[in-house]
Each structure stands twice: as C-alpha cells, then as structure tokens.
C-alpha cells in the first residue's frame, strides 16, 4: 500500500521531465518563440525581466504545500489537533522544556517543501519563459 503513494510522484516525473526537456529544446535558437511576448515576458526564450511570474509560481507552490492541511478531512484535522494538544499538555506537565531531540517527520517534510518552494523562485528567475509557463500547478 505504501508503494501506491509513489505512483502519482513517479507519473508526474515521467511526464514532467520529458516535457521540460522538449521546452528547453524549443527555446534553443533559432526559434520563432523569440518574437512572442506573454504577460510580463518580453520573449518566451528569455527569463522574466520583472520577476513577477517566478514570484507567482513560488506563491502557488507554497499554497500547494499548505493546501494539504487545508484540504484535510475534518476527522483527521481533529486528530492532529488532539495530538498537538496532548504533546503541549505533556510538555506543560513536566514544567521544563525537553532537552532530547524530537524527530517530527511531518514538520520536517513541511519545512523542506516550503523551503523548496521559496528556492524555486530563485531558479525560476533564470529560466526561459517557456519553462515558466509549464511550472504552475506542479
């Protein structure tokens, strides 16, 4: 069952990587995409000079990461809340902060994904416009 979780990721990568490569091949000169502007892009083969699209993509990625929590079923959300409350009350009962290192996979995953969505803005600033058009919603 755990393997099922990797099916969407694998399929997304299997379609995303070839598509990205094709877009990079399209952007190689000589190309007719040089003459086309779109939104804030002056040409589809050049990076966005105003950096508006990269920032928008970063925000969309951030929302994508956080929407996991927004779209959580109410029962599951209640469960998470109860678990957090129990942890907080346990910490309050001892009266002192715990010194031992606590590994929280969910928190680590969330932090990692948020960091990546911010880092992606920097990468997107240097990408050609064609690639930017494929990125949102990933």
């Amino acid at each position: 069952m755990r393997n099922t979780l990797f099916i969407p990721v694998a399929l997304n990568l299997a379609t995303f990587i070839p598509m990205s490569l094709i877009m990079l091949a399209i952007a190689m000169p000589p190309t007719p995409l040089d003459s086309e502007a779109f939104l804030t892009l002056t040409a589809l083969t050049h990076p966005d000079p105003s950096n508006i699209l990269p920032v928008v993509i970063g925000i969309m990625n951030f929302a994508n990461v956080d929407s996991h929590r927004w779209l959580m079923p109410p029962v599951r959300r209640e469960e998470v809340r109860q678990r957090e409350e129990a942890a907080a009350s346990a910490a309050a009962a001892t009266g002192k902060p715990e010194n031992r290192l606590q590994i929280k996979p969910a928190a680590m995953w969330g932090f990692g994904m948020r960091f990546l969505s911010v880092a992606r803005i920097v990468f997107a600033m240097y990408m050609p416009g064609v690639r930017l058009l494929c990125l949102p919603g990933l």
Binding site: P8, I22, P30, L33, L44, L133
Partner: protein, 166 residues
C-alpha cells in the same frame, strides 16, 4: 590521407557554420537529436491550432499542453488518494479493535457483552465512524470515482430525457 580527410571535414564544418550564423551552440547529443523533432512538432501544432488572432499561439499551446498533462494525471491522483484513505482508516480501525480487545479480554460475545463492549461512548462513536469510512472508501475504490461520476451524469441525463418526454 587521414590527416587530409580530417582537414577537409573541418573545413566543411566551418563553411556550414559560416553559412548558418544562427546555428545552435548546443552540442549535438543523442538526447538533443530525439528532442529536436518533438520540439518542431510542438511548434507546428501551435501554428496548426485555431487560436484567436489576438492570442499568442506558442504560449497558448504550451499552457494547453501543461493543462492536458495535469488533467490526464488527475484521475490517478484521485484513485491513489482514495486508496490511501482506505489504508489509513483500516489501520485506525485495527488499532481501535486491538485497544478494545485489550480492555475487554476474555469477555463472552453475548448481546449484553456487545452492548457493554464500549463503555466509553466516544471510543464507540469513533469506531463506528471508522468502520463506516472504511466500507465507504472500499466501495468507492472498487467502483471508481470516474465510473460513479459518469453513472451519475448518465442517470441525470436519462431523468432529463424522461421529463422532456413526459
């Protein structure tokens, strides 16, 4: 002779570069050779599609392709989500059952005992919710969301047709 051949090839290459000043600086590799025709096909497709005159054809085609890619993968993502939910609720159900068995180990399974199985009403409610969710999720995964949606649409259209006929 080999040296002369090499010189000749070099000269030919240089002349071709001189003839085509806009030639790509990218190194010719196996991958680029595969990708170049695909890229040309995408460009041809964007010219062939009947976009309105004021729409940018290349950008519109690229956005359309990205949308098609995401839409094609959506049913699989929904199917996986449902399967994961079944897994999650089943695990929780198992956990609750084990808890209950530990609390009432060795009790007879009479009607009275069944009534008293859940002294904690909250746990009982949780167990019922879990069981219902497992059954519902299993049912939905078996039939498939898309089939159900199409059935719903079909039944709705048949109802409309019936109303129109009467």
């Amino acid at each position: 002779m080999l040296a002369r051949q090499a010189l000749r090839r070099n000269a030919l290459y240089q002349s071709r570069v001189l003839l085509r000043p806009n030639v790509s600086r990218q190194r010719r590799t196996y991958l680029t050779e595969i990708l170049a025709p695909m890229a040309n096909q995408v460009i041809d497709l964007s010219l062939a599609l009947p976009w309105p005159a004021d729409w940018p054809p290349y950008a519109s085609t690229i956005i359309l392709l990205a949308l098609i890619q995401r839409t094609a993968l959506l049913p699989i993502a929904l199917w996986v989500r449902r399967r994961t939910l079944v897994w999650y609720w089943e695990r929780k159900l198992k956990f609750l059952l084990v808890q209950e068995q530990v609390a009432h180990h060795g009790r007879r399974r009479t009607a009275r005992a069944q009534e008293e199985r859940w002294p904690n009403q909250r746990a009982r409610k949780e167990y019922c919710t879990c069981k219902g969710r497992v059954e519902r999720s299993r049912r939905e995964t078996k039939t498939g969301g898309l089939h159900r949606a199409s059935e719903r649409v079909a039944s709705r259209s048949s109802t409309h047709a019936l109303i129109a006929r009467t």
